[in-house]
Symmetry: C2
Subunit: 344 residues, 2 copies
């Protein structure tokens, strides 16, 4: 099965959903350019989700993708919360943050409320991070005709996704920016580079495999296709595009030499994700043990982020990025999509 026949796109290029740094505008631009634009929904309220879906439907008639996280909601651990706030206390003090004013940052996993809305809009593609939702929710998604995509970071995860009903697998090499999609293991040693992960998944599954991680330009696309990919998913390279909502501190980091130094960190959300190394990652991480489970760790660090970003500093911001920022360009997303397509 050829990926673009399955997804009904012109190009086998998926714009990676990137919560917090993009909305419908980037998705629309990529879909209209022939790729598969993606709307990250992990941090949207139901009202925002509806608004964004309306925005997409009114601006493109091409296929698009909506992406959700499907993590288990953790129980609140007062001990973990204490560990984390104690670690952050010196910075609260330095910047005048009152810990009593911390409010919960929520990332609600995919649920029936979301499906209710999706059933109205029938998005052609729905992708998930951290595995797949419950059989019941997945059946409802499939019932309205959506193709289902999810990310695998190991061969075991790829085989699990194929068996559980995914139509397409993203092989997420550890070069990739943002959250690791890992869901069968928490061991970072299990994570493979794209060069090793992609061909191993391709030879073991019977559904299309899309390469992600380190792909920044047409040559990267060509290399991924040589390794057996049916298409590519590109995130980092889109971060500077006009249609992205990437903050100024984030854009500044991406265009600086600091972008050469990334690490997997859990301090921004509780789950490992790749970001450009900043002050907070150096002082508190990159991996801080004992902090609240995803997504609860985000709450206590967020006031520092907000406060410092207002002062023009990204010291406490999650500067999501893959290991290869050489493809980041301040150009329209359509142009970038066409440039990448030269490697198909």
């Amino acid at each position: 099965m050829i990926l673009r026949d399955l997804l009904e796109t012109e190009l086998s290029i998926i714009q990676a959903p990137m919560a917090g740094v993009q909305g419908s505008a980037l998705a629309v631009a990529v879909s209209n350019a022939g790729g598969l634009g993606s709307l990250p929904c992990a941090m949207l309220s139901m009202e925002q989700l509806r608004d964004e879906l309306i925005a997409i439907k009114t601006q493109t008639n091409r296929p698009y993708n909506v992406n959700f996280f499907c993590h288990d909601v953790p129980e609140i651990s007062h001990k973990a919360e204490m560990i984390w706030r104690n670690a952050l206390m010196p910075f609260y003090k330095a910047h005048g943050v009152d810990p009593n004013t911390i409010s919960a940052v929520t990332r609600v996993p995919f649920n029936s409320d979301a499906v209710d809305i999706l059933e109205e809009f029938k998005p052609p593609v729905v992708s998930f991070h951290f595995g797949l939702p419950s059989d019941e929710l997945l059946a409802r998604v499939k019932a309205f005709g959506a193709k289902v995509i999810s990310s695998a970071t190991t061969l075991e995860e790829a085989l699990w996704l194929e068996e559980c009903g995914a139509d397409v697998i993203i092989a997420q090499g550890l070069e990739a920016g943002g959250h690791r999609g890992m869901f069968l293991s928490r061991d970072l040693n299990s994570q493979l580079g794209t060069f090793a992960l992609l061909p191993q998944i391709v030879r073991e599954v019977n559904i299309p495999v899309v390469a992600a991680g380190g792909i920044a330009d047409a040559k990267g696309v060509e290399a991924a296709m040589a390794l057996g990919a049916s298409g590519v998913q590109v995130g980092t390279a889109y971060l500077l595009c006009c249609e992205a909502l990437t903050s100024q501190v984030h854009r500044a980091a991406l265009t600086s030499s600091r972008a050469k130094h990334t690490a997997l960190t859990n301090i921004f959300t509780g789950r490992p994700a790749r970001a450009i190394i900043n002050f907070a990652m150096k002082e508190l991480g990159p991996i801080h043990y004992g902090i609240p489970e995803f997504p609860l760790a985000a709450s206590a660090i967020s006031p520092l982020r907000t406060l410092l970003e207002a002062r023009g500093s990204g010291d406490f911001s999650p500067l999501w990025s893959g290991q290869n920022t050489t493809g980041c360009k301040t150009i329209p997303a359509a142009e970038l999509t066409h440039e990448l397509a030269a490697g198909l």
Copy 2:
């Protein structure tokens, strides 16, 4: 400069030097097949070095490579030795090892004795791991006409190697098996996947860049070339070849499903190296802090390795492997070299 013109080989394929699992036989086979065969010299005495060089010279008139480690010799730390022996004590007791019988396992860095011998044989290519030797030693190597290769695991290391006189750089992605060539940083977070590392080095240096890490077959070679490599270095795929000296426990691990799970570990030598996860890595690592510096950590663990290998167990053996063992085949190295060459 085209790599095979520089190295005077027919093919832009370097067989990775793998100390402990191969000698002149594998190097000769690859060189005679048109690639660049490599002799790992890190664990050879001067007498063995001479014997191996004679063996190569009498069996091929094609170019070949001799590889050396050029680490700084650490001072012995009694504290580190104590930490390490204490950690190993339960296993000494379980297997009846008397710690008083531990003898030093030595890996002597490249030195003037080695150059004295090399000057007799004038190997056409000399490669180094962990940077480059002193200016004086390097000048002597260049004086007899050898081309010099070394590995970079970051862009900083590549720029350093170019400036310090390397003729060719190996971009060692973190998929690669065996010792990380890292020498400007000890931070494992600095290590990049081949997909991200290779194009970044290619665009910043003016000498040929050879890709290493995760390349297992012709498709992998093709992908590396698409990313701008001037050639490839392949190690893991050669481990099952008839000419390799890979032990039975090592071969068994490489052909089992365990080979899908590797990690960077320091427990076998003191420096991070990628190996298939075994009992010792699970119990003691993969990273054990405070143990003796490279190569001194090898001494205390070696008796356990020797004892258990004699019983057919690889529980304490360094089962070096990259993250992609799909190319491992029990065939002559010449055949594997020809198969890889199809991707050039």
